[in-house]
Amino acid sequence: MQFTINGQVHEADVDIRTSLLDLAREHLGLTGSKKGCDHGQCGACTMIVNGRRINSCLTLAVMHQDDDIVTIEGLGGPDALNPLQRAFVTHDAFQCGYCTPGQICSATAMIEEARMGWPSHVSERLDGDVILDNDEISERMSGNICRCAAYPNIVDAIREVAEAGA
């Protein structure tokens, strides 16, 4: 099987049951994406596939052979932090850091969703521009759990980047 992850083509021969998350972590050495619950509840495994954030634990690798897959490694690294990664450091938006790669992948795609005008459960109106205030960010990021409860700082970090890009 052949996969395109972070713009690089990888070959791997894996069991048909292998999730996209296990493919990245166990077979391709891309260990940035984390396994929390393995049931789509915690968001630690979030990757961006064809521009969309998804739970990589709840999908089969074999179904993604033609897709454009982005993991945290593709967004930036220690030598070249992207704006969200920098904002998470500035705002102290983590303690243990286990959920952070998923938070950042999720937030990256979430900011795009808001730019496209997608409403959320807390949006008063279904039409018009989306302003990413604290309530909107909290609702839109509810698929990413932080066991250390660094939520206030996570929201601050995301809001700073969303406002800078607006």
């Binding site: 069991d15 048909i16 969309r52 954030r53 709840l58 459960h121 279904l126 509810s142 698929g143």
Partner: protein, 327 residues
């Protein structure tokens, strides 16, 4: 997870041809793979339908919309036509799951989402839905999230979805392709089954029958509301939800469609609820009569007794908002 054969279909016809009794179609996989990991579901074969050309939302001649079965929950919720004409559907979708799951979960798959009954998920428990004839540990167990309407001796599970509740109020039609090549158009009113003696059979679909589209009729008159009550503000299943559509003319309720989530084995709708409202001026009396009609025959199982007053209050709150009545 038990292993399985895997095949990717390149047309709906090829998908149904490849399916047998032990086959499951996989689209988003967010529910199916979760259950396969726990060995609650153990299909021998998966037919991957995710690449089929069923991911468009098209205008229909009579004014409705034709939704491909593979349209993601997020795309359906964000579609400008759905937002402006079928707000109850957008709101129901946005009230469900998380951003990541909505990006993956499909329209067809969401109709077929399995119950979140704890005992269905726990393979060490007895469950007539998972293992017919084994018994039901929910009736005497922790049944806080369970059904209060349409239950049977064998099963008190609920349907967990939000989207299907809105679709029930909107009277959608589910279009399928059968193994023999025939197409069926199934009104959602006829699509789901109550548990009865066969809680493992949840819909009228035949083995190997594929949902290809969902058709929305022309937009209904009046206001549309989806109200979901749950244990936390986001990313939780409904304890009670109400999809409501109603119009008021000359001070009287002219039309009403009300569907309920969290109360039964399927999205619940009862003509008696609407009959109690139509022709009446919006009032506390009329709203209570509608709630009485809804809850005739309802019963709790201990932990879920609270759903009876909760359903009444949620319905009344929705009716007040729909009719603009402040009483």
């Amino acid at each position: 997870m038990k292993t399985f054969d895997y095949a990717r279909a390149d047309s709906p016809e090829a998908a149904v041809a490849a399916a047998d009794e032990e086959t499951r179609f996989i689209a988003g996989g967010t529910n199916l793979l979760d259950l396969m990991k726990l060995q609650v579901m153990t299909p021998a074969k998966l037919v991957d339908i995710s690449r089929l050309d069923l991911n468009r939302i098209e205008d229909m001649d009579e004014g409705g919309l034709r939704i491909g079965a593979l349209v993601a929950n997020s795309d359906l919720a964000a579609d400008t036509r759905v937002r402006s004409r079928y707000a109850v559907l957008s709101r129901a979708l946005l009230a469900g799951a998380s951003g990541q799951l909505r990006n993956k979960a499909s329209t067809g798959g969401n109709l077929l989402q399995r119950t979140r009954c704890y005992y269905f998920y726990d393979t060490a428990s007895r469950c007539n839905k998972r293992e017919p004839g084994s018994g039901c540990d929910a009736r005497e167990g922790f049944n806080r999230i369970h059904a209060v309407l349409g239950t049977s001796e064998q099963c008190i599970a609920t349907h967990p979805g939000d989207m299907p509740v809105a679709m029930r109020a909107l009277d959608v039609v589910i279009v399928t392709l059968k193994k023999d090549g025939d197409r069926r158009r199934i009104p959602i009113a006829d699509f789901y089954r109550l548990p009865g003696d066969t809680p493992q059979i949840e819909t009228v679909l035949y083995p190997g029958e594929l949902i290809t589209h969902v058709e929305l009729p022309p937009a209904p008159r009046g206001r549309q509301i989806y109200r979901k009550v749950r244990d936390r503000a986001s990313y939780a299943f409904a304890l009670v939800s109400v999809a409501g559509i109603a119009s008021v003319e000359d001070g009287r309720i002219a039309s009403a469609a009300l569907a309920f989530g969290g109360l039964a084995h399927m999205p619940w709708r009862d003509p008696a609820v609407e009959a109690a409202l139509i022709g009446q001026p919006p009032s506390t009396e009329a709203f209570n009569a509608a709630a009485d009609a809804l809850l005739t025959g309802a019963r709790g199982f201990g932990h879920n007794d609270f759903k009876l007053p909760l359903a009444r209050r949620t319905l009344i709150a929705v009716l007040r908002d729909l009719t603009g009545d402040a009483s």
